[in-house]
Amino acid sequence: MKSEDDEFAELFDEFHPSLCRFLECLLGGARAAAEDIAQESFLRLYRAGTDGPPQAEARFWLFRVARNLALNELSRGHTRRRLLDRVVEMFAPQKKDPEREYEAAERRAVVMEMLKLLPEQQRAALLLREQEEMSYREIAEVLCVSEAKVKVDIFRARERLRERWGRTHSSAAGAANR
């Protein structure tokens, strides 16, 4: 029989990467801050123990807490975070495949540029939909809003992206195909 810690470790392994990714995108690429907040979210879940959410709800609970913590983070110390991330990046170990790393970094930069166009509510809703594949009902639960608002936010986010990026990408893709 698994101990509580084993169950928690499984849950941690399952959701930590996706939570970090969500937070990193939400925070505009601040990886160190994202990892901090992800850790803090899991710590709160762990501390909650039996008072915490049921296991089936843990994922939504985690994303909700993490997003609230990220909002706090967004409201202060942007410059500090960016500086810290640069320092961390500078001292990060060398990558094995620089070319692949470069491509991945480029892709990340494109996504980050896209997401920066969006207000936080829309960004969070779109990320939960596209990365976590949550339904509108689940997103509404995480963000503590109505499903109708989720629907509107996701649509507006896509429209906004289309205004700035869709046509550019479509035309670039069309030119490449010709």
Binding site: P17, Q39, T50, A104, L115, L126, L127, R129, E159, G166
Partner: protein, 370 residues
Amino acid sequence: MSCDWTEKVSLLVDGELAGGEADAARSHIEACDECRAARVDFLLFRRQISSYSAEASVAARRRALEAILSSKTPAAQARVREESGAWPSRAGWRERVAGAFARVRLAPAAALLALVVVALGLSVYMTSRRETQTARDTSFGTPSRESASATPSPSTRSDAPTGGGALKEKEDERVAENPSGKRVGENPSEKRAVVAVVRNTPPNAPRMDRRRRRTQSRDATQVIAATEPEQKSPRVEPSLENVGGATTASAAMVSDRARVAPLDAGRHAEQAQLLLRSFRNARLSDDDLAYERERSKRLLYRNIVLRREAASKGEARVEGLLDRLEPILIDIANLPDKPAKEEVASIRERVRKKNLVVSLQAAAPRRRDF
């Protein structure tokens, strides 16, 4: 200008349209160039956003998990039980008294007073006991304890009075005797401890602020306590959750210090880093920083011990870091139940200025160096 159906397209790609609506939207998309383009764009965004990879290192994830799992202390568990009301509290008299002290802000004075009263009581008791013993020895002519001992300890004075001695001689005995029956300073470990106390307060030491002095005095209490014989209680985490405040904990420390689990400085740095992050991210409305206060109290003891160890080993870098951390731990531990925002903000600002989280983060993984 976009088509009115574009919103339906958005719902369609998300699978949020019911059967009939979905069919209608698909039919429309076939006929409408604008909606077809919108669908292509929406799917392109999906591919780009979902392809984003965070790539957190496995080692970092392991460390994070370890740090979280290690945070499950008896104190935290007890607090969760108390809050959840899962079963009734079985706090002992000491916890209840400490809890009562915690509710009022007179805790430091009360703890000090309690300590003084206990010390006086012990002194009076020892005096009366010795006088009774002396009187009995004198009355009945029985030999003194020292001379009666079949195998006298090395510390037994050969010229010990056998009865009715001068007051000074009695006092000498009192000072010399401790529960192990040895003189303080004769045991090598005691000697080291006493020397450490002396080193804690060098005569030419610079003037310290009040907080620092309080910390030093607690150090001294611990060191003196270390001269007592080791208790045989199990070595478990100290249960400090019910102690009123860090500066009021002297009495509790005397009884709890022997149970402080050994911990290496690297792990301590990890836990302190976790605490500072938690403190930094906590909302005042959440739980009034109760968790952070308790954790600070616990880490404070270890910090003091580890700082002294680092000092004795000549590890200046470690000592410096722990020295910077200590006042922060004291301040967090001493926060009231409902701390003012300014107070919390001030501590957070000091943490930021001292760059403590980054320093601790840098120190934590390199346990060998740290």
